[in-house]
Amino acid sequence: MAHSYTPGLRMASQTVVRKRRILPIPGQVLVHEGQAVTATTVIAQTELPGKVHAVNVVNLLGIVPQEIRHYMLKREGDAVQAGEPLAENRPVIKWLKTQVPSPITGTIETVSEVTGQVFLREPPRPLALTAYLDGHVVETFPGQGATVETACSLVQGIFGIGGEAVGTIAVAVGSPEDELTPEQITDAHRGTILVGGSLIGRDGFARAKQAGVAAIVVGGIHDLDLKLLLGRDLGVAITGTEQVGLTLIITEGFGRIAMARRTFDLLVSKVGQRASCSGETQIRAGVIRPEVIVPLTPPPIPPPRRGEGEGGGAEEGVSVVIGGGLKVGDQIRIIREPYFGRICRVSALPTDLRLLPTGSKARVLEAELDDGQHIIIPRTNVELLEA
């Protein structure tokens, strides 16, 4: 039989993460293999081509396209300043002269004798790519970027918004069941990756933003609050570019859901340590989950160079781990009503299809809750909690 599998979110107190950091277009790589880097080290840079603007010169001068070159003051490849004339007509009466000014500062790329358009390009914009992690460069890709590796603790969230952030870990609540309220957030949390419990509301988020918190990691958020934060209803879970003032990572789901105890305890044990995080999420083929990466201290010995025995078992930036299937005794999280958010252990894995209250038949598992109650759950409605 083909594998039946249960994707789970990764949570590890000690692992090795590798991140492939690649420029969007070719450029220059500034680091070498084996080099120690911090999250903010620029490892590669490039220049993004400027925007293209089109000016229909023939319409503005009242000429035909075939004549355009006759009226041009500039040629392809010439640099121009905003407002500088690109072309002009030559009327008999001089004060009737019309000039076509350049709308931008840049260079002339093309002059078309068919449509009479002139294409101008803005100057390129520099782009610097940072390492994102405190760690070591283990591989470089000439002209493209590098792979950075770090020995770390790793927590993956289920959903996030906002991009990459770096800060020290701080915890503002006493337990994973607590809501992160505005009163618990202080100015001392500026620049931190702040860990909450079961929920953050709109007021808590506003306070965090005001205090200059770098990122929030919390169990859940109400969708109505997310809508308010973003100013729109989020349609598809492809995020990471939002500009909402800070990065938000939710570990469990939408609604008030206590953060998994093991996740909470791991983050609490890292208070005061520097970490990297990202809210980028893509729930489609090629799944990307938000994450918190806390490099281990003291920093481990630099890894051997490539070819000297590569470290096996490193995470290649893969966000979801595919388990080999469920076993009796595995700890699981239920991810759908009516037991949404509960954590329990698998007590049996019946092979036959069972009838659900909806009338559907599905493969199920039996689980035991903390209070000893035995329940039946469709196998597809659980996540394996991996150590």
Binding site: A2, Y5, H53, A54, T115, F119, V236, T281, E337, L356
Partner: protein
Amino acid sequence: MQVSAKDAIDVTTQWTQMKAILATDCGSTTTKAILIEKVGEEYRQTFRGESPTTVEAPFDDVTRGVLNAIQEVEELSGRKILDGEKILTPAEGGRGVDIYVSTSSAGGGLQMMVAGVVMAMTAESAQRCALGAGAIVMDVLASNDGRAAHEKIERIRVLRPDMILLSGGTDGGTISHVVELAEYIRAADPKPRLGGSFKLPVIFAGNKDARGRIQDILGDRTALVMADNIRPVLERENLAPARHKIHDLFLEHVMAQAPGYGVLMGWTGAPIMPTPAAVGLIMENAARAQGLNLLGVDIGGATTDVFSVVDGQFTRTVSANLGMSYSISNVLAEAGIEKIERWLADPLAEQEMRNRIKNKMIRPTTIPQTQADLALEQAVAREALRLALDQHKALAVGLKGVQMERTIADAFEQEEGGKSLIDLYRIDLIIGSGGILSHAPHRVQAMMMMIDAYQPLGLTQFAVDSIFMMPHLGVLSEVNERAATEVFLKDCLVPLGSCLAADGRAKRGEPCFAYAIRFADGRLAQGALRFGEILRIDLPPGAEADLQAEPSKGFDLGAGKGKAVKLQAKGGVVGLILDARGRPLYLAEEESERVAQLRAWAKAVDLYPTEEG
């Protein structure tokens, strides 16, 4: 190469002698394999297997998932199909298969950008052409689309399509506008989505007089291919040549770049097709074979495809962000919470509803375990189906910009070009596909989702795709149409039954229509429905009944207001639904009244049976 008549006969004989056929569909998450075998004198789908698709890291090879799915078919059927990683052909004594075919939508399917001079004319034709070829259209560019030149260029640059279809101008007409579009494409210098170092394929299917100029502008920067003009004259669309070029380029450029497809292409006995193109093909063939006007929908996790074949004219649209898992939250965003809430007989608080929908989005593989959760998903599905049909209606239209000759009589009935082809009175059959419809716990739920969303008029048949094998059958129909059609009718489609619905409004409780049903065994059932009522009558699959109905004077059953109809109703697993709830469907504004309405309807059709029926 020319094929002689003898060769053609040999090929036909070869195909008709096929004993076993293997087909796969490589979807973005699952690869599904089916085995079709000749049972007696007819082809039947016998076994199926599935496995996660392996086109992405850490596997990066689509053939792994294909082999796993085939292995499952082997295990279930006991038929040896694989020799290591080789498919055994031909079939001999219970081993191997005669042909292997496949479709693919893995890695995001075929993503295109189209451009035309006038938005409502050549750009719209280009959009229909790309959609018909199975593509997702990322953007439609036109000279008059309201965007400034730099915005168009920036858009072309930012999107990384698999290919661009450029059209514009009738043959012999002006070339400057389409050349201008080519200049924008050159200025943007777009890169293909896959295989960054390759040139982006561009198909030029516009004014043939512009070819020289287009070649000068795009020839060195792109992989430029010329095709016949999709709109050679305003009055005619000619989509087939450009559509074929899209398929060729899909194989040469897109598929060849995707991990493992080079090997997979070597295994198949016919070219790999984009999944939606194959679904469209089987629907088109079925409509033609049975002389039906047909509407089909495939509602997936991320996208919803709608197909129609009306008077032989095929149209496909894809609503790229309407779906039941990845895109479920976008249905909420587009429809609004009130539109979803209106279908719930047990209302939920807005916050709870929103959180549940978002949780489905972030955990797309979960299934409803409670009745309330199921009802919420089916409410969202009604809205997704409705929105996708609205988008389809906007594109399934007659040609715009065409001068029509009018008679004096027409002067009283002014109709603009671009009238929608989807006249619900004329749709004979509606086919539903996709998990929410094919796997609804009770078939009546699938039928009611479609009736509520589409609000058919007159008499309409309904069916669902049993296990989503339309893609397999579409690609198979290219090599063995008989096998594909037989399996489509016998194993693929589950007939749900028929629905007779009246157009019109009245006060609740006023007479809507009277009916008399004569069953094949001579039994007679008759009665009358009042406005706001719905009735389900048992009429099993394969059965037919004579149906006579007489509407009240404000209602129309297809023959005109107040005019009686005599029809032949076909049965199905649900039976015959008589719908007097009005069109547009009337749902009370006031919540308690609406809830009472929904509960009465659910009871009338036995929407949530207490025991497995």
